[in-house]
């Protein structure tokens, strides 16, 4: 499809958008290679949606530049519009219309003839498992169905670049997995996807590169591996029987794992990040830590090893530590520098 000389689907430099006194997007630089899923990871209000809206020509940047397949999003908005499509955070389809009507409407607006639009609509509904709901108004759809019709509407024209703004927020796990499958199928056909999400898990599942964004700024960027290395390979979550043993347990974990230990609001719970820099795997480290705790006579009621949560990623990247600037350099090295945060 679109061959751009630099091979970049999106390229931004110093992108800024302010609303009143708030700098919603504050100098964002992105370089998204074509044919991949690029994750924009960040909490609510980080500026993800605002960034997407500027790239999709819905908002005009206050400063900086953005190019989509080499076309300026402001000066060549129509060129950009011809190549992208957007699935917004809230259903970007007309809820009063039926699923089929929505797809036909958009097909016609994309220039399809009546018959072609009708056929394409039927095929998409079929592929998305929505044939039975084709004649129902979208407002009567379930959350999962809405997402499907929304994404179906977005790929009507097989866009070169698809914006998915928090596509699985509010979905149950099964629907979420189905959305992920759809995204994989879309990318397999050569469409570039810019995905915003609050879940590290989701970015991990789908994206090949991830930018972590906070308060309008990109605070880390890299491949999944690089990013994970910066926050540790995983987190050990422990619940103790006795809250009184928690300080001792924290100390043991710190020694055994050489990791940051965080005391949770729950008085018997604590979380330790296990680093990827160590030679043994996260599971081995966790096993060692459990052994240490048992030897010290600390009773563990409940144990789990999971991926670092977004909270933890954030703590590691923005942390209340002093060396803010040093943080970004840790992307390659795993985190050893920081002491316990608790």
């Amino acid at each position: 499809m679109s061959q751009h000389t630099t091979g970049l689907a999106i390229e931004t430099a110093g992108l800024v958008k302010t609303f009143g006194d708030t700098r919603a997007v504050d100098g964002v630089d992105l370089a998204v290679p074509t044919g991949t899923v690029y994750g924009l990871l960040g909490p609510n209000g980080a500026g993800k949606t605002t960034t997407v809206k500027m790239l999709a020509t819905l908002l005009r940047p206050d400063d900086g530049e953005a190019h989509v397949f080499g076309h300026d999003v402001v000066r060549e908005a129509d060129e950009v519009r011809a190549r992208v499509s957007l699935t917004g955070q809230y259903a970007s389809v007309d809820e009063d219309l039926t699923g089929a009507e929505n797809l036909i409407l958009l097909g016609r607006l994309l220039g399809q003839a009546k018959k072609a639009a009708r056929e394409r609509s039927a095929q998409l509904l079929e592929a998305f498992g929505l044939t039975d709901a084709a004649g129902k108004q979208v407002k009567h759809y379930s959350g999962g169905m809405r997402r499907r019709i929304d994404i179906a509407a977005s790929i009507l024209n097989t866009p070169d670049l698809l914006f998915l703004d928090e596509p699985t927020t509010g979905l149950d796990p099964r629907s979420r997995n189905q959305v992920w499958d759809i995204v994989r199928a879309v990318v397999a056909q050569g469409t570039t996807v810019l995905l915003t999400t609050q879940y590290l898990d989701e970015a991990d599942q789908l994206a090949s590169r991830i930018a972590v964004i906070d308060r309008g700024k990109v605070i880390a960027e890299g491949t999944k591996g690089e990013l994970k290395a910066s926050v540790g390979a995983g987190s050990v979550h422990l619940r103790l029987r006795d809250a009184g043993q928690r300080p001792e347990a924290a100390e043991v974990l710190r020694r055994a794992l050489d990791a940051q230990v965080q005391l949770e609001p729950d008085p018997v719970a604590l979380t330790a990040r296990v680093g990827a820099a160590a030679s043994d795997t996260a599971a081995e480290q966790a096993a060692r830590a459990l052994g240490e705790l048992a030897r010290t006579g600390i009773t563990v009621d409940n144990f789990s090893l999971g991926q670092p949560s977004l909270d933890e990623v954030f703590l590691a990247l923005t942390g209340h530590d002093t060396q803010d600037s040093a943080k970004q350099d840790t992307a390659e090295q795993g985190n050893r520098k920081s002491e316990a945060v608790a």
Binding site: T57, L86, D94, D96, A127, S142, T158, D181
Partner: protein, 282 residues
């Protein structure tokens, strides 16, 4: 590429990765639609909305009937001797008044509709930008036509006779619908400019009541004080109402028709660009 697991929900069939892949390969992209085609497609959207939410036709059926009945019997005896004689004068005017009043709902629906996610999608389409608004107003033109037909029917039942015949009546309705289409751009502007539905409603009332009542819809302006006559005789509503009255009576009020169309053009020229400016900034 993994396909979807076999644990499918009862109500929702699985996504078929194979057929999805086949669809995505899709061939040539069609050229972008023309301005007319995009506008008509949005007009179709408006029709579909009427089909799915027919209650919204209430304001173009019940309201106009009420207007005709109310004013015919309220003023008829006092102003013209009898309701039957008054309606001969009143009907074309009240037709204009009611339809112009109905146009203000455009602002309200633009205001509520624009906040919905689907507008984000419309705005990322490579189409002629005003087509969204034009489509809206095309749908509304249908509503205005329905209102006109309803009122004429009630009027005929009450004894109104159009000397202009079918042609005259048709010409009158077409002129009124064209004028209302143009006039509605004021409301699309307010719909985009104001933050809430309520404020749109409030502003609309402030504009529409003086504008429609201070006209020749109910009475001949000769008895009004001079300063008011100056306003009434130059009001677009007076021009349209005189034109429609003339057309339906079988005359050819060329000057009034010209004035009406002139005003219509002016409304589009002034409020169309303002609307689009606001729309692009939303």
């Amino acid at each position: 590429m993994s396909t979807v697991t076999s644990t499918e929900t009862k109500d929702l069939a699985p996504v078929s990765a194979e057929s999805l892949a086949a669809l995505l390969i899709g061939g040539e992209r069609p050229p972008r639609p023309s301005a007319l085609s995009a506008s008509l497609t949005f007009g179709w959207r408006a029709m579909l909305k009427i089909k799915h939410v027919p209650e919204q036709l209430f304001d173009v059926t019940a309201f106009p009937i009420m207007m005709v009945l109310m004013y015919t019997y309220l003023f008829g005896g006092a102003l013209a001797g009898s309701p039957k004689e008054y309606i001969q004068f009143l009907l074309p005017g009240i037709l204009v008044m009611s339809v112009v009043m109905i146009t203000m709902y455009t602002g309200v629906s633009v205001n509520t509709d624009i906040e919905k996610g689907v507008f984000d999608r419309f705005r990322t389409l490579p189409i002629w930008r005003p087509s969204v608004m034009v489509g809206y107003l095309l749908g509304d033109a249908l509503r205005y036509t329905i209102a006109s037909v309803v009122m004429l029917t009630v009027g005929m039942i009450l004894g109104y006779r159009a000397d202009g015949g079918v042609a005259g009546v048709l010409a009158g309705i077409v002129l009124l619908v064209v004028f209302s289409f143009a006039f509605s751009w004021i409301w699309t502007m307010f719909g985009l400019l104001l933050r809430t539905e309520k404020s749109v409603m409030g502003v609309s009332m402030m504009v529409i009541f003086p504008l429609t009542f201070l006209s020749n819809v109910f009475v001949d302006p000769h008895t009004m004080p001079g300063w008011l006559q100056a306003f009434v005789n130059n009001s677009p509503i007076t021009h349209v109402s005189s034109a429609v009255r003339g057309l339906m009576a079988g005359d050819w009020p060329a000057a009034e028709v010209a004035w009406s169309l002139g005003w219509a053009g002016l409304f589009i020229l002034v409020f169309g660009p303002i609307t689009m400016r606001l729309y692009n900034r939303k």
